[in-house]
Symmetry: C2
Subunit: 388 residues, 2 copies
Amino acid sequence: MTVTAPKGFRAAGVTAGIKASGKPDLALVVNDGPEKNVAAVFTSNRVAAAPVRWSRQAVSDGRADAVVLNSGGANACTGPQGFQNAHKMAEKTADVLGISAADVVVCSTGLIGEQLPMDKVLTGVDAAAAALADDGGHSAAVAIMTTDTVPKEALFTGADAAGTTYTIGGIAKGAGMLAPGLATMLVVLTTDAAAAPEMLDAALRDATRVTFDRADSDGCMSTNDTVVLLSSGASNAVPGAADFTAGLTQVCAELARKLIGDAEGASHDIAIRAFNAASESDAEVVARAVARSNLFKTAIFGKDPNWGRVLSAVGTTDAVFDPDELSVAINGVQVCQKGGIGEDRSLVDLEPRDVLVEIDLQAGEAEATILTNDLTHDYVHENSAYSS
Amino acid sequence: MTVTAPKGFRAAGVTAGIKASGKPDLALVVNDGPEKNVAAVFTSNRVAAAPVRWSRQAVSDGRADAVVLNSGGANACTGPQGFQNAHKMAEKTADVLGISAADVVVCSTGLIGEQLPMDKVLTGVDAAAAALADDGGHSAAVAIMTTDTVPKEALFTGADAAGTTYTIGGIAKGAGMLAPGLATMLVVLTTDAAAAPEMLDAALRDATRVTFDRADSDGCMSTNDTVVLLSSGASNAVPGAADFTAGLTQVCAELARKLIGDAEGASHDIAIRAFNAASESDAEVVARAVARSNLFKTAIFGKDPNWGRVLSAVGTTDAVFDPDELSVAINGVQVCQKGGIGEDRSLVDLEPRDVLVEIDLQAGEAEATILTNDLTHDYVHENSAYSS
């Protein structure tokens, strides 16, 4: 259930010595074809890391043969030397694989504002190339972890109209700086379906819009976010766009849940669903405003169903609603009815890790759900005690 | 140095029994004239508390004779009964003072979503009226405290063109939910200058725009924020608008600093100054984005000059800048130069409580400063362990 489950892919994860901890820190995912199609989405942060700037160019022609990824350093805010280093990672990978550097996607994650130890990185690329294997997806998933406590992988299997099966596999990392317009994360998705770059691109944008874009652990957007989708066509299946998009969305949703489920220091995974909204955009804005409220997030950590903090966050948005018609349920208990006091808040059980907050806007029929986490002592500890 | 320093004002703070702690929880500020002019600004939160809805009407004619304030309950999200209770507070105050209820401003602060214990509130109004004194400003400042550890007061003394002196006094409360478009706070300002409601209103909007509106402790906007300014004209001074606005801004700035300095659980007071911006609005947007970054705020708590988290927050805005021209100084050390690595981050001393982050946008000549706090274990503790 990983990026080497689809036919036509090899992968590896090795220890290059970039991380002081001595844990695996360099990964390679290679598409052996016959197709070498690619689509990708990147952070919308205007302060984009060097590998993001490189990779935007690399995927622009719809073709990529390989993805090289490192943890242990973000190569962000590193100036012209940082861009040269991202370029060197692509060239080295191209050299050892006998491909073109322009077809190599580069991803980095770790501390911003430090140059990568390039000698270790380049030696690591050699080691990873030597370790490439048909079942190497899991080791690649491990090598891209930073503060993640578990590797994240997902798989979907479908069939085209002729009954030919295909698979979509994915690996992801990301545990802090999980935010909008992508979480701090690197995701590699592979498929052995036959799909043109245009179809890959449309499917990827549809899938990420309702999955990764709605995973908002701490409101902080990374400089390095990358989601890349490679297709080999090795299954000979030719799925329709709708079916393929649905399968891809399922893989992305599973990876997004796993990211939120492993967010730094979190003790609750919170789904905030705004419904009866005038538009999907309104629903998303409302749910995200609640997901961004530190007061709401600390209350959930304290197992306090403090619905006033939900309403005060909703009230900061410009979504269509009448404040006197808002209702809120927390884990099924209707604590707020029409802007006022509803069922007894002491009925809400916040012991389980999963929390569902439902906000009824009484303004239409659209809805959206944002996934977030609570704000805990461990979040503060992890993000104050360690540079990352 | 408080609301009874200007001539023509009496105040009191008493224990009405609204707070379970038995601490003072009801305050009254009365303008004995001869002028009874007023201006006020309120939260922009669309989920506005009942007392805010009441008070917006009360000040709309430019006249107010008294302000009644309670802590121990926000009277927010309390439906029609909540509005009736705010109305009752105004009527009771009017009765005991022999004035009109329409000239009474009502302010409440505390937990959202619970009805006020009106028997205690109304008895408290009697007690406060009986305790009104020319030097009662300090006791009023104490009675509006919630999680504040100290009362906040400020004073300005000026003179008009003829040399006649006047004073502006203020009291404020607010320690959490400190945010934009006002912090969670109640502020009463008084002056014995002669000033028409129009001048009061213009001066108050100018002053709050660059002071309270730029105090953003935790990004959370309250349902109850109110800043009310009363003028008695008792000094016979008739200051010019510019001088009066400057004095008022000084009082508001001092109170805003005191609010940030007493924010829940904070261990650092952080001034984020964006300069060389294309517009003041750009500067404010950039500084506020950094002030809202939990990752930046936890880093400062950990005394980690993690400038990458500053840049990643700046990059989420649509302000005019070139990412490769951004520079950042933390406490005077130029840690980021032109989008890349600057001076050694270990040179930054984050032991002092005051922190200055300066962001050079290289896009113009405007600037703005947002005041915020770090994100600490104590913030999480205070906001998870207690309903407020």
